[in-house]
């Protein structure tokens, strides 16, 4: 199950960091962040609560880049 979220991030390097952080969250099978389109695409593992996972993803991203936003 893949879903795309709108994000707000100011620098390309930070977008990369968000991608790395999101990939490490439990329940995320894969994640890609596009700085240019300001979008995050998340592929969820099976049988997970996507909302809870995304909360974790947001937390993880805030940790690596305090200035980012994911519009859930």
């Amino acid at each position: 199950m893949k879903k795309t979220y709108k994000i707000e991030v100011d620098c390309a390097n930070c977008a990369q960091k968000m991608e790395d952080a999101a990939k490490k969250v439990a329940g995320v099978a894969d994640a890609t962040v596009s700085f240019m389109t300001q979008k995050m695409k998340v592929e969820f593992a099976e049988d997970v609560n996507q909302e809870n996972v995304m909360q974790e993803v947001l937390k993880a991203c805030k940790k690596v880049e305090s200035d980012c936003e994911i519009f859930l």
């Binding site: 795309t4 100011d10 620098c11 390309a12 390097n13 930070c14 990369q16 960091k17 890609t32 596009s34 700085f35 240019m36 389109t37 300001q38 979008k39 695409k41 940790k63 690596v64 880049e65 305090s66 200035d67």
Partner: protein, 622 residues
């Protein structure tokens, strides 16, 4: 500017004015520290905060950290004005960068913005404005002049000219009328159309294209991956280098009994930190690729990812399907050979009338060549003889249209030619009227397309086809392709691609261009698959990496030119920023570069790189 950018803009103005004012006040020591501290905090508080948060979250080595250390260090050494200036220019650079990126993002997304906002649904003759999502297959929708066609469908009523440029890059409008298929995303320029939808919005052309484009920047190129890996090691490495510059020389000098000159070496180290900021690289490379993808889509070329743009630039072998790719994939009357005393008009008219009841491709091509409306009443006693042709009465006179076998069966004497194609013989009232040649014709511009590929550095253009050797060779000579492989089954095509893949040198790539149902396996097997979009099958478009929306083979060379331009810009930016950075770093370490040069090496290089990157968006033919 966005709200965030406006806020930074005003902070820059206020801080810049304060710096100038404070510089004019003749105070020294602590008073000067406090006076410069005001503009410094105004301009830099968020950077300091982010640097602190970064350390707290164990994400130490980022730009904010570099800037914070450099400026705080400058303050500690009494270089208040330089410290504030570094922060000020850093913010100016950041603002410019976010503005430039936002602007090109907007330009590019505007190019790709083909999403229809609504559909005029007809319910019991009343029209209702609804979301395209809600329209079911088989509904009737109304499209007025100036509106986008929201869903794929068939025109049930009305005729109009539609502009397909958003989809195909083709500026010539297309005429459509009742019975024609239309694809979503085109703009209706004149006339009201009633369309019966054949697909849901999700499945419609416009949604598929949007999805492709939106996902395209998710597939990262090798250059982009290189930069992320590079940045990961580069920033910490520079920090440790700066630390070494700050500590080692003074300690050595101390050990040798000389004065350690702490301040001098620490300033050099701080200068290096300012220079080292990797943002010029990190920002300009994805921006260039995105610009290239945007520029290509303005030409009707959809590239599904930056990695494919990279492969396109390295393509040395182009394998092409014949039918539908280099040829029109439709039969046309290519020659007429009337018997003595018979006019071409009579020959064609008899053939067209005899075939007018049928929808066979050959019949259609005859009718198309005739061009006039045919009164079906003129035809009677039609008898179709499978594998031979047709016998009938035209205006009451017996006639026959068909191949050699039919002529032999009727015991007619006939002639034939050496030309490539299907021969259609015509008989009327027991008399042989002559012969029509029907063949698939080469697309306009296909020959130039092959020549253009050669000019773009392609070593070999190879045509693969399931068609007969005779037909394939004829097209090949006409187009000047290097090699032909004919009478291939779909699996043979895959084998051919694999043979070329084995043959090529390292660093060279193989492209396959196709359109048909059976091309999907070959498209995915080649390094890069290019599909003809408007006519191609959905499966082929799905399997392809690049889609040419207007089916013009000439666009292959255009796509390659765009990719090479983009890659050129990327390379320029990598080399340019690294050379300046390393030169300044080296000079900084031995004290030849001061803080002001350091600011140029950081902000200036970044601005230039971003400006260079935006060139990727523009493509000029020629």
């Amino acid at each position: 500017m966005t709200k965030k950018q406006k806020k930074v803009f005003w902070r820059i103005i206020v801080a810049a004015v304060l710096v100038v004012v404070v510089s004019l006040i003749p105070v020294k020591g602590a008073a000067r520290f406090f006076l410069f501290g005001i503009p410094y905090l105004i301009i830099g508080y968020d950077i300091l905060k982010k640097a602190a948060l970064g350390i707290w979250h164990k994400q130490v080595f980022d730009e904010c950290f570099l800037m914070a250390i450099a400026t705080v260090g400058a303050f500690a050494l009494g270089e208040y004005r330089e410290g504030t200036a570094v922060m000020l220019f850093y913010q100016i650079g950041e603002l410019f960068q976010s503005y430039a990126v936002g602007k090109s993002r907007k330009n590019i997304t505007a190019l790709m913005d083909i999403r229809p906002d609504f559909a005029n649904l007809l319910v019991d003759g009343e029209e209702k404005e609804v979301d395209p999502d809600e329209v079911e297959v088989g509904s009737l929708i109304l499209v007025k002049p100036g509106e986008k066609i929201p869903l794929d469908g068939i025109v049930r009523e009305g005729r109009a000219t539609v502009n397909t440029s958003a989809l195909t890059g083709e500026s010539l409008p297309r005429e459509i009328e009742t019975g024609d298929e239309v694809i979503s995303g085109c703009v209706n320029m004149s006339g009201v159309l009633t369309i019966e939808t054949t697909r849901e919005f999700e499945e419609s052309t416009v949604s598929k294209i949007l999805e492709l484009v939106e996902n395209s920047s998710m597939k990262k190129s090798r250059s982009e991956n290189f930069i992320t890996r590079f940045a990961r090691y580069y920033t910490p490495a520079v920090c440790f280098l700066a630390l070494a510059v700050a500590l080692l020389p003074p300690i050595v000098q101390l050990a040798m009994g000389m004065s350690p000159l702490w301040a001098k070496w620490v300033i050099r180290a701080l200068t290096m930190l300012v220079i080292s900021c990797p943002c010029a690289l990190v920002i300009s490379i994805p921006l260039s690729f995105f610009g290239g993808i945007g520029g290509a889509s303005a030409q009707g070329i959809l590239v599904k990812g930056s990695n494919y743009l990279e492969i396109l630039s390295k393509t040395k072998y182009v394998l092409c399907d014949k039918t539908g790719t280099l040829t029109k994939g439709a039969f046309e009357v290519t020659a007429m050979h009337p018997a003595d005393g018979v006019s071409e008009g009579e020959l064609l008219e008899t053939a067209a009338v005899c075939e007018c009841f049928s929808n066979h491709p050959i019949s259609r091509s005859l009718k198309a060549a005739y061009g006039k409306e045919i009164d079906q009443e003129r035809l009677s006693d039609v008898e179709e003889i499978g594998g031979h042709g047709v016998t009938a009465k035209v205006d009451g006179i017996p006639a026959a249209v068909g191949n050699e076998k039919l002529m032999k069966k009727l015991g007619m004497t006939f002639f034939s030619t050496e030309e490539v194609g299907t021969q259609i013989h015509v008989v009327k009232d027991g008399k042989y009227l002559g012969l029509l040649m029907i063949a698939d014709v080469v697309k306009e511009g296909a020959k130039e397309a092959v020549a253009e590929l050669k000019r773009n550095g392609v070593k070999k253009v190879i045509m693969l086809t399931g068609d007969s050797k005779k037909a394939a060779d004829a097209v090949a000579t006409q187009l000047n392709v290097d090699e032909v492989r004919s009478e291939l089954l779909p699996s043979d095509k895959v084998d051919s691609v694999e043979a070329i893949l084995a043959l090529k040198n390292r660093g060279e790539c193989v492209a396959f261009v196709g359109d048909g149902m059976n091309d999907a396996p070959v498209l995915s097997r080649a390094d890069i698959g290019i599909a003809m979009g408007a006519m191609g099958s959905d499966a082929a478009i799905e399997a392809a990496d690049v889609v040419l929306m207007d089916d013009d083979p000439g666009k292959i060379a255009t796509a390659m030119a765009i990719s090479r331009k983009t890659l050129g810009i990327v390379r320029q930016n990598i080399v340019f920023s690294l050379v300046i950075k390393f030169a300044c770093l080296g000079l900084g370490a031995i004290g030849y570069v001061n803080m002001w040069w350091a600011i140029f090496a950081d902000v200036g290089v970044m601005v230039l790189a971003v400006l260079n990157a935006t060139r990727a968006l523009v493509y000029k033919r020629g």
